[in-house]
């Protein structure tokens, strides 16, 4: 029997021993290979974009790097650009505080809500909730900001802060040095609210990819749903959960308008959650109008963007390493 060659040769397209005509495998493969190449090229777009943005930011922030030392920029605490003082530490600290609080506040309810929606809720609850989450992800930041000013800031100022500082005021973290409600905690709450729809939606979809058989395997052994979630489903999708949280946190790092409307924008290093702070994106947004008209100021703001980029990069690399750690340990 003269079998057709395995190698992709053009003759493959011809009808063989009376069998019906087929599209030659080599053609389909060529399509597949072309697709692979095109897809690969497309992945270059985001890579190129990041490189372009990095280079652009680096070039445009170069002037300030020439006139000020890195140490001075990163450890300085005074921000008087027109007085020639560019201390970025308060902004870095502000970014760190607000994002951390936002993520800490967002993650537990997100996880629980996603689990609830996917494992417990009736279909009708799900079908109502999902479009609402889409909507929540779409509301403009300014609206969140205004909402924060109308609801969160007064709540923090009049209810939450007095209560906390009268009970826990001795802890510096809860001291009320700046009793206006425009604070790290208000910014954190707004951020949490803003990233919630993203985290829930992604975790929910990941939960949906867990095969039903797996749930049945656990439930069949008499496990409760909660045990099934914590012992079987959670470990299985942990990488996905971490990815979802990292995505949420990245979003939080970059969120601008809503935060800046409630966070107080005082270039200081906060020591309490009721202190005002000044995150990097807020710095950029507050002054973007003045960008480009004054060269050194322009460079300083783009340096802020550059620093933010570095923070996001560091954060993501750490998250990736942690993830690999977890996966590695599990592999054993």
């Amino acid at each position: 029997m003269a079998a057709p060659a395995l190698f992709s040769k053009p003759e493959q397209g011809r009808p063989q021993d009376g069998r019906p005509y087929k599209l030659s495998i080599s053609l389909r493969n060529r399509l597949n290979n072309i697709a692979a190449r095109v897809f690969w090229l497309i992945t270059l777009i985001p890579v190129g974009l990041v490189i372009a943005i990095t280079v652009a930011l680096a070039v445009r922030s170069a002037p300030i790097l020439q006139s000020h030392s890195l140490v001075e920029l990163f450890t300085g605490t005074v921000w008087k650009p027109f007085g020639g003082q560019f201390g970025f530490l308060p902004f870095i600290a502000g970014t760190f505080w607000v994002t951390t609080i936002g993520v800490i506040l967002a993650v537990p309810p997100c996880l629980l809500t996603a689990f609830y929606l996917s494992e417990y809720a009736r279909p009708i609850t799900r079908n109502i909730m999902k479009p609402l989450l889409d909507v929540l992800a779409a509301i403009p930041s300014v609206v969140y900001g205004v909402w924060g000013m109308l609801v969160i800031v007064p709540f923090v100022q009049k209810t939450f802060m007095p209560w906390m500082s009268s009970h826990f005021g001795f802890i510096p973290l809860f001291a009320s040095n700046q009793p206006t409600g425009f604070s790290v905690i208000s910014g954190g709450v707004i951020l949490a609210v803003m990233i919630i729809p993203f985290i829930i939606a992604i975790i929910y979809e990941i939960l949906k990819t867990v095969p039903q058989d797996l749930r049945e395997a656990s439930l069949g052994l008499g496990a409760t749903r909660w045990e099934t979630i914590t012992l079987v489903i959670f470990p299985k999708i942990l990488p996905g959960i971490i990815a979802a949280i990292v995505l949420g946190a990245s979003r939080a790092l970059g969120e601008t308008m809503a935060v800046l409307m409630v966070v107080g924008n005082v270039p200081q290093i906060p020591t309490s959650i009721f202190d005002a702070a000044y995150p990097l994106p807020a710095l950029i947004a507050n002054n973007y109008g003045e960008m480009m008209s004054i060269p050194l100021f322009d460079a300083a703001l783009l340096l802020a963007a550059f620093i933010l980029l570095l923070i996001i990069l560091t954060f993501n690399v750490i998250a990736t390493l942690v993830l690999q750690r977890i996966l590695g340990r599990r592999g054993k």
Binding site: M257, L260, G289
Partner: protein
């Protein structure tokens, strides 16, 4: 088909009467500009306008970089900007007023005495006055002053800082709140708050009184220890009057400017001229302060 000007006073006859004018910049001028644009488009239907807000700095940047034809700038033009080709004309006037909460603990003292520029400096720049008691000379009142300032770079804080001893916005103390409505909102909801707002925000256009929940703090301009009637700007009308007649100090009062890259030409020039001449009649209707004739004349000279 070239449109025939319906207005006999139409400026330069040779100017083309069709095209697109793009404008961006200060929020303070945005509502008025859309009004001007509409009126002008009624005269010259073939001229189209793209008007966008975004802040004074954005207007300046856009104008200098040629991204728009006209930038709206609600502050003074800096030398660096002039060096980059910024060319401007003043078209109307605005002013910044200090505001406090209507249930301020020492409200009656404040209204009777007013605050001096000196005291404001001690609140906003040097932090020597930190309680309302200190401010009105009643040390037994220890309520802290909650100072609010603008977080975004804009004309109002710049003028306010300039008023407080020729300082810069970065020297102003206080919690930074975004935009005029933000500062107003912060003051309205905080009985111990003090802030500053542009004319249109400090006063409510429909009632002629200060915005609900807020009080415009009289500035003791002549530093005689009492708020004289002309310093006590209880209605918007009075405030406009004080600003228009230069009784209210400048800064914090200042002209609002239109910036072009180099001296305007063609339809842009024609439009700005129209604003300076015929456009002025819409200024007070929209709640802005008209310029004094001498400044208007100066603007006219710069553009023509």
């Amino acid at each position: 088909s070239p449109a025939t000007p319906k207005d006999a006073n139409a400026s330069s006859e040779s100017a083309p009467t069709s095209g697109v004018i793009t404008i961006s910049g200060a929020f303070a001028l945005y509502p008025l500009m859309t009004r001007w644009a509409e009126e002008y488009a009624k005269l010259y239907p073939d001229i189209q306008f793209d008007v966008s807000a975004g802040g004074a700095g954005k207007g300046m940047t856009d104008a200098i970089s040629g991204a728009v034809d006209i930038g709206m700038v609600s502050r003074e033009i800096k030398p660096e900007e002039e060096a980059q080709g910024a060319y401007w004309a003043s078209v109307t006037k605005d002013a910044v007023f200090p505001v406090v909460n209507a249930s301020n603990p020492v409200l009656s003292d404040l209204l009777s005495k007013g605050v001096t520029q000196e005291q404001l400096i001690k609140i906003y720049i040097t932090a020597e006055i930190t309680t309302w008691g200190q401010l009105v000379g009643k040390p037994e009142i220890t309520d802290e002053i909650h100072v609010y300032t603008r977080s975004d770079a804009a004309g109002a804080p710049e003028m306010w800082a300039k008023f407080l001893g020729n300082k810069l916005q970065e020297d102003l103390l206080g919690i930074g709140v975004n935009a005029d409505p933000g500062v107003l909102q912060a003051v309205i909801s905080d009985p111990l708050g003090i802030g500053y707002n542009n004319l249109g925000y400090a006063y409510d256009a429909s009632t002629d009184l200060p915005a609900a929940g807020a009080i415009v703090l009289p500035i003791d301009i002549n530093a005689n220890g009492t708020a004289d009637p002309m310093e006590l700007l209880e209605t918007k009308t009075e405030a406009i009057e004080a600003v228009a007649t230069n009784q209210y100090p400048s800064p914090p009062a200042r002209p609002l400017n239109l910036v072009t890259k180099g001296k305007p030409t063609g339809i842009t020039q024609a439009f700005i001229l129209w604003i300076i001449k015929d456009g002025q009649k819409y200024v007070s209707e929209a709640g802005y302060v008209a310029l004094t004739p001498d400044i208007l004349a100066e603007s006219l000279k710069k553009i023509q």
